[in-house]
Structures are given as C-alpha cells and as structure tokens.
C-alpha cells in the first residue's frame, strides 16, 4: 500500500506571514512614491534653491544625493562689467565630494581662508555668470557647503548623501 503523505500545516503562521507581506508591499509602494517625488534625489522634494537677499548669489542644488552618483550645482554670479568674477567654496565640502567638472573652467584657483577661491573671466554684459559644478559625493551622510561671491552674503546649503 502506498504511504500516506504527511504535510505540516500551521495556518496561524501562514496568516502572520501573509499579513507581514502585505505591510511590506505597502512599505515598498511608499518607497517608490517617495523616490518618484525625489526623496532619494532628483525630484520635487530634492530641488533646493537659495537666493541671497542682496542679489549677490543664486544657488540651485539637490538636497538628496547618492554616493558615487553625479549631481549638479548651479550658481549664478552677478555680472561685474569688465571685472573678473570670483566664487569661494568651503574646503570641508570638497573633503566629501569630487568635482568632476566646472563649467566654465576657472582662470585661477587659490586657497582663501578655509575655502577655495575660483576666479572666472568677466560675465556677459548685464547678465549673471552661470557656473555649473558637476560633483560626485564620496561619503554618505549629511554635508554642508557654503558659497560666497565676494559679497557680504555667504549661502550655506545642506545635502544628505544616501549610501
């Protein structure tokens, strides 16, 4: 006679697991929605915009970025007719990121206080000089960058880097 198959069944355990699965699915959906909104970078929640009250500086950046993933910082330096434009960035920010490219290329770079001072050519007449930094964060966690264009105002921005 054939042996009778035996199967261990635990309905309570299965119900527990099914409940956990559905909670997990809801959580996954929340993560996807949050990602679409930019909580993990490049989206509505991530867009950051700072503007100096004296008009000396305009800064656009991503609040949320990821390690080893390129991100862009756009800085508008007010035009100074026939005068060189300068941009100062704190050195501690550079300790945590790698600058892949700076557009336009600066004419000069020198250490100034606890930051680096970049010098660019004169901007277009009557218009702000747009400077774009392509950076790659190297360390996870929070970081703060500060920029100044020679005016009284220093703008500081916070970014969170996901691992």
């Amino acid at each position: 006679m054939n042996s009778v198959p035996v199967l261990e069944q635990d309905s309570a355990f299965h119900r527990w697991v099914w409940r956990l699965e559905r909670i997990a699915w809801g959580f996954m959906l929340l993560i996807v929605v949050a990602a679409l909104l930019g909580l993990f970078g490049r989206g509505l929640l991530s867009h950051g915009h700072l503007h100096a009250a004296d008009g000396s500086l305009d800064l656009r950046y991503d609040r949320f970025v990821q390690v080893s993933s390129e991100t862009v910082i756009d800085i508008s330096i007010p035009a100074r007719e026939s005068r060189l434009c300068s941009l100062w960035i704190n050195r501690s920010y550079f300790d945590r990121v790698e600058i892949k490219q700076m557009i336009p290329n600066p004419r000069a770079l020198e250490l100034s206080g606890d930051g680096w001072l970049y010098t660019f050519g004169p901007g277009p007449a009557g218009k702000a000089l747009p400077v774009r930094l392509l950076i790659v964060p190297r360390q996870a966690g929070g970081m703060e960058g500060c920029v100044n264009t020679g005016g009284r105002t220093t703008l500081c921005f916070q970014q969170f880097v996901y691992p």
Binding site: P5, D10, H14, S68
Partner: protein
Amino acid sequence: MDAVIRSAAMYVFLLVIFRLSGKRTLAQISTFDLILLLIVSEATQNALIGNNSSMTHAFLIIVTLVGIDIALSLLKQRWPSLDRWIEGLPLAVVKNGRPLEENMRHARVDEADILCAARERQGLMSMDQIGLAVLERNGHISIVPSQGPVGQTTRQ
C-alpha cells in the same frame, strides 16, 4: 571594511525583500520573472563592486557572503523557529483534487500554475488527478497524484 558592510547589507536586504515578496517571486514562473532576477543580480553586482574591481575586493565580498550563509544555516539549526521565519513553510494549495482557494489567493497561485506543474512533474491532465499540490519553500509546486486517502498532520 566597505566590502564587508556592503555585502552584509545587500545579503540581508535581498533576504528580507524576497522573503516578503512571497514564494512565487523565487520560482521564475514566467519570462518576466527571469528578467526580473537578472536585473536584480545586475543591480546587486553594481552596488557590491562599485568602482573597485580588484581581486581583493571580490574575495572579501565572496567570503562575507558565504560566511553569512554559513552563519545563518548554523543559526537555523540552533533555533528551528528561525528557519520557518526565514524559509517559510510548505503550503498546500490543492487537496484531493479540490483547490484551496484562500491559500491559492494569498500565495498568488492560480489553477493554471498548478496544472502546469502537474503536467510537467507527473503527467497529470486534470485537477481531480491531484491528491496534493504543495507550494514549496523555494516557490515551486510539487504534485502528489491522487492514490487514495491523503493525510496531513496539523501543528497544534
């Protein structure tokens, strides 16, 4: 240190995500499921390797992953209850030719999946030829042909 932490984090993450996605995700029932697993493996590789393609980095990743696997198997031996939470339990989906609708619904298994397994594994053509169909822990469906009384023990 980075290699070990990344490897451990990815192992735990994949363990949890696949455990909570349900058994059928593991079974590769359709072309899309296979594509999903291929893409997951690519994404995992990129996260583990990063910019470091050295042999040392690869060795560390492999040793960490194998080590965690061994540790987990030892823990499951020591605490059998851990095994059921990590691996799950087999789930009956057909008994004596009758589909167990609630179990099938929760496990996201339909009659077509069961009949496919029945044809592939036992050459059976209809539901009433199936004595017991079980969704195993690995996501596959095993079939016991109808041979007479099918018994089961239930944990109290």
